[in-house]
């Protein structure tokens, strides 16, 4: 997901028809330079070396997105069959990770780890960050923990909740959803400095002294782990020791 404005010019991209390291290549219709869609960098042509600006985006189930954003618009079109486009939580936990950072300066946090540690205080490059994970919708996010002059530290808030009726009706969701005992889930976190409570999905402060504040989101994208490793062989991977 990129801003296609570059130095005051709006680029329009087409499909080059080339496969490069398992990734398709874009060309811009003005200069016909070639761009790698994974990194947003021009690799060949007059704009070689130029970098498109990343825009934050998430990959979430439609039901969650339309509830959070009832005013959303959506693109419809021919739906590709047999494509990994439907939500399958066990498969996503086992195979995916959250890539945090931009360009080639990225770190992959595997979902298998984040499902165990849904609020992870860490560092990416020089920046102190908190990486969060809402397991029920496999939504990872990363935020700067620097808020003005304050540097915050977060702890997860566990609540016991019953599996939703929707979860129970879906056989592809994890078997534990079908259990009758309440499950611990984490959808909020508390900062140690002020005790304020924050939504882990969007970094908004819900209540407490910092209510109304919002943490700065970092560029973070869900990736199939084996594809990510292929594209970023020198990137840092953070995961469970055994599973990875």
């Amino acid at each position: 997901m990129y801003d296609r404005s570059l130095d005051g010019e709006t680029l329009t991209f087409g499909h080059e028809g080339v496969l490069y390291r398992n990734s398709f290549v874009m060309y811009d219709k003005g200069s016909e330079s070639l761009w790698v869609h994974v990194t947003g960098e021009a690799i060949k042509g007059p704009k070689k070396g130029s970098q498109l600006r990343f825009l934050p985006s998430v990959i979430v189930p439609w039901g969650f997105w339309r509830t959070e954003h009832p005013e959303t618009t959506v693109l419809l079109g021919k739906m590709v069959e047999g494509f990994m486009g439907s939500f399958n939580l066990p498969q996503r936990l086992a195979s995916y990770g959250l890539s945090v950072g931009e360009g080639r300066n990225v770190t992959l946090f595997r979902y298998a780890l984040l499902s165990q540690v849904p609020v992870l205080n860490t560092q990416v490059g020089e920046e102190p960050v908190v990486v969060t994970f809402a397991e029920e919708i496999a939504l990872g996010a990363a935020f700067s923990t620097q808020l003005g002059e304050r540097k915050l530290h977060f702890d997860p808030i566990l609540v016991l909740s019953k599996p939703s009726a929707a979860s129970e009706s879906k056989s592809e969701l994890p078997s534990k959803s079908a259990a009758v005992v309440p499950q611990p889930t984490v959808s909020t976190m508390r900062d140690s400095e002020t005790g304020s409570v924050w939504d882990i999905r969007n970094g908004r402060c819900l209540r407490g002294p910092l209510a109304g504040e919002r943490l700065k989101p970092l560029t973070a994208t869900a990736w199939l782990g084996k594809r990510w490793v292929h594209f970023f062989p020198e990137g840092k991977v953070v995961g469970l020791p055994k599973a990875d």
Binding site: R4, K48, S57, P61, L75, V80, G85, F87
Partner: protein, 102 residues
């Protein structure tokens, strides 16, 4: 001792695997990129028509994964199964011209 150190260094160097090629460079592109179809043979959307959430829900199930974009309060969703057949959308969201790729 110096001889021993030199030997160890030489042994270490000899055992190192070949350095992997630096990827995302023009030289690497020229070496391994493959033209698999003519330019523009794959459909790309530019400023496509969009529908509201209610209309979208007539087609999309709640479990359908979407790429969600939230720019300056304007929100938009791109279902992965639609993007699987398109791969690239030149769009505008809020005040920004966007390129959505999958």
């Amino acid at each position: 001792m110096i001889l021993l150190c030199t030997s160890i260094l030489a042994l270490t160097a000899a055992q190192e695997p070949d350095t992997p090629p630096e990827i995302f460079t023009e030289a690497d592109y020229d070496a391994v990129a493959e033209q698999v179809m003519p330019r523009d043979a794959f459909p790309v959307l530019t400023l496509p028509e969009l529908v509201d959430a209610k209309t979208g829900s007539e087609t999309l199930g709640d479990e359908e994964l979407v790429i969600g974009l939230n720019l300056d309060g304007e929100t938009r969703a791109y279902p992965l199964r639609v993007m699987g057949g398109v791969e690239l959308v030149n769009d505008v969201c809020g005040d920004l011209a966007t390129a959505v790729s999958w």
